[in-house]
């Protein structure tokens, strides 16, 4: 653990030189995995995230099947070597909660009614963790779902906003997350509807409004990067083509 820095913002710049409303660098690699139906590798600052999607596929045990729709399952997992202090393998209370809210971030967008009795499985492996692994995971999952050809109402884009040195900033890095005053991960469907919202720390109502607005800006930026990644991979082909329209439509809405 590093010691707490005295200041997080100096002359309007953050410890890593970013502006307050600037994302860390994001790198996307589509379809890195061969076995999964869809996959995406995403680097976000020092986060290294692998996402894989299997499905729609048969769901076992049978009593977990839903007769009218597909069941979305989401497993967020941190590799034991992904952080300074080794993590014991297996689910933790933290990873169970993150898996739940992340799953719920996708349930509104996946056309689950098309695939009754099946499962759509999303697996997130955090290979290296900086701050913001759950939002990075959601962004990767979004692309892996598209890569698997799962029909969706739109991409889900996510980022965290927070408060450090009394200022609302976009996309907390590790030191800001550890010592900051608030952290608020948000996921949105392109267009701005919120599918994940959590908040820790302490914010006034005004700060919260500002944070929510900044989260929208962040998610829009992420969405643009996701869109580009899909365009690069699929070009004019159908998976993006079809989606693209509906996504743009969503964006125009607001």
């Amino acid at each position: 653990m590093n010691d707490k820095p005295e200041h997080f913002i100096i002359d309007g710049k953050r410890l890593d030189g970013r502006n307050l409303d600037e994302l860390r660098p994001i790198k996307i690699e589509m379809s890195p995995l061969d076995r999964a139906d869809g996959s995406c590798y995403l680097e976000w600052g020092n986060n290294k995230i692998m996402a894989a999607v299997y499905g729609p596929r048969e769901l076992h045990p049978r009593h977990r099947q839903n007769m009218t729709r597909s069941v979305v399952q989401y497993r967020y997992n941190m590799a034991s070597f992904s952080v300074d202090e080794r993590i014991r393998p297996g689910p933790s209370r933290r990873s169970v909660e993150i898996s739940k809210v992340s799953r719920e971030a996708f349930e509104p967008v996946v056309f689950t009614k098309f695939f009754p009795r099946t499962a759509i499985d999303v697996f997130i492996e955090v290979l290296q963790a900086d701050a913001g692994t759950r939002t990075a995971g959601i962004n990767a999952a979004s692309l892996a779902l598209a890569d698997a050809g799962i029909p969706m109402r739109g991409l889900v884009s996510a980022c965290a906003v927070g408060k450090v040195d009394g200022r609302i900033v976009l996309d907390l890095m590790k030191e800001e997350d550890n010592y900051g005053e608030a952290d608020m991960p948000v996921a949105m469907i392109a267009g701005g509807r919120i599918t994940l919202l959590q908040m820790d720390g302490r914010l006034t109502t005004e700060e919260f409004y500002e944070a929510l607005k900044l989260a929208k800006t962040g998610c829009d930026k992420v969405y643009e990067l996701q869109r580009q990644a899909l365009l690069e991979k699929y070009g004019g082909e159908h998976p993006v083509d079809a989606e693209d329209v509906s996504l743009e439509g969503d964006t125009d809405e607001q």
């Binding site: 509807r193 959590q198 302490r202």
Partner: protein, 259 residues
């Protein structure tokens, strides 16, 4: 099958009520059910509170004992929050280790207490790096009548406010209260038919797509928020819930002056 039909009828009934601006139990959309809080109900615990919120009954017990601090925070106490959705409380709950629902409740309550800094954790340090007070908050849901999370949150704060640190038992000086600095209150709304309803009853909860819990403090600041459920919320809806939560929390907070 017939269960599905009943659920459908129930949903339609509640939906039509909401369209008319009504709720099945006659409450206004921003109105809580009667909440009663009884503290010190369990003498064996260092603190305890039984909260009744409509039909919901949650018992919170606080146990405190000296123990080791976490290596990366050697000078502050430890809070461990656990929620048990025991099968007594609902035909839907099953025995066994906590599942995602119970884990989410425990973690949201825990963060609300922790992030509001309502406990002065530094004062729980006994010997830096060696010994601190460990505070176990155990949430025991006895009857699920809906909105467990707000009842659990209120019960945890009420139990903490009346809990002692039994220092004498461990030859660590005189007993004292847990050093509390704030009263964070969780308020939960569900979204249903475009409307926002506070303190959902079980029936309402089961038909709602999604809920938003907002934890606010005495000074009106927000110290926790959790969206739960499979439907999206708009930015406007979130802002409205925050406003409703602040007002409702102030009302609930008054009860703690009586505690």
């Amino acid at each position: 099958m017939s269960n599905d039909v009943m659920a459908e009828i129930q949903r339609d009934y509640l939906f039509n009520l909401v369209l008319k601006g009504e709720r099945a139990d006659g409450r206004a959309f921003d109105e809580f059910r009667e909440m009663s809080i009884e503290t010190n109900v369990i003498g064996a615990a260092e603190g305890s509170a039984l909260v009744k919120l409509g039909d919901t009954q949650v018992l919170v017990g606080i146990k405190t004992q000296p123990g080791e601090p976490f290596p990366d925070t050697p000078d502050v106490g430890v809070i461990i929050t656990n929620a048990e959705l025991i099968p007594m409380a609902s035909p839907e709950f099953e025995a066994g280790p906590p599942r995602e629902g119970a884990i989410e409740i425990a973690r949201v309550v825990d963060r609300g207490i922790r992030e509001s800094k309502s406990i002065d954790l530094k004062k729980l340090c006994i010997t830096e790096g060696e010994k601190v007070w460990i505070i176990f908050i155990d949430i025991h849901v006895l009857n699920n009548g809906g909105n467990i999370i707000d009842a659990a949150s209120a019960g945890s704060i009420a139990a903490l406010l009346t809990a002692t640190l039994p220092a004498a038992r461990y030859d660590l000086g005189e007993d004292s209260q847990i050093p509390m600095r704030d009263i964070p209150i969780a308020v939960t709304a569900i979204e249903f038919g475009g409307e926002l309803l506070l303190d959902p009853s079980l029936d309402e909860e089961q038909i709602a797509g999604t809920s938003l819990t907002v934890i606010t403090n005495t000074d009106g600041s927000i110290s926790g928020m959790q969206k739960s459920g499979a439907e999206p919320l708009t930015v406007d809806q979130v802002i409205r819930v925050v406003d409703m939560a602040k007002t409702a929390a102030a009302e609930i907070r008054k009860k703690f002056l009586e505690v």
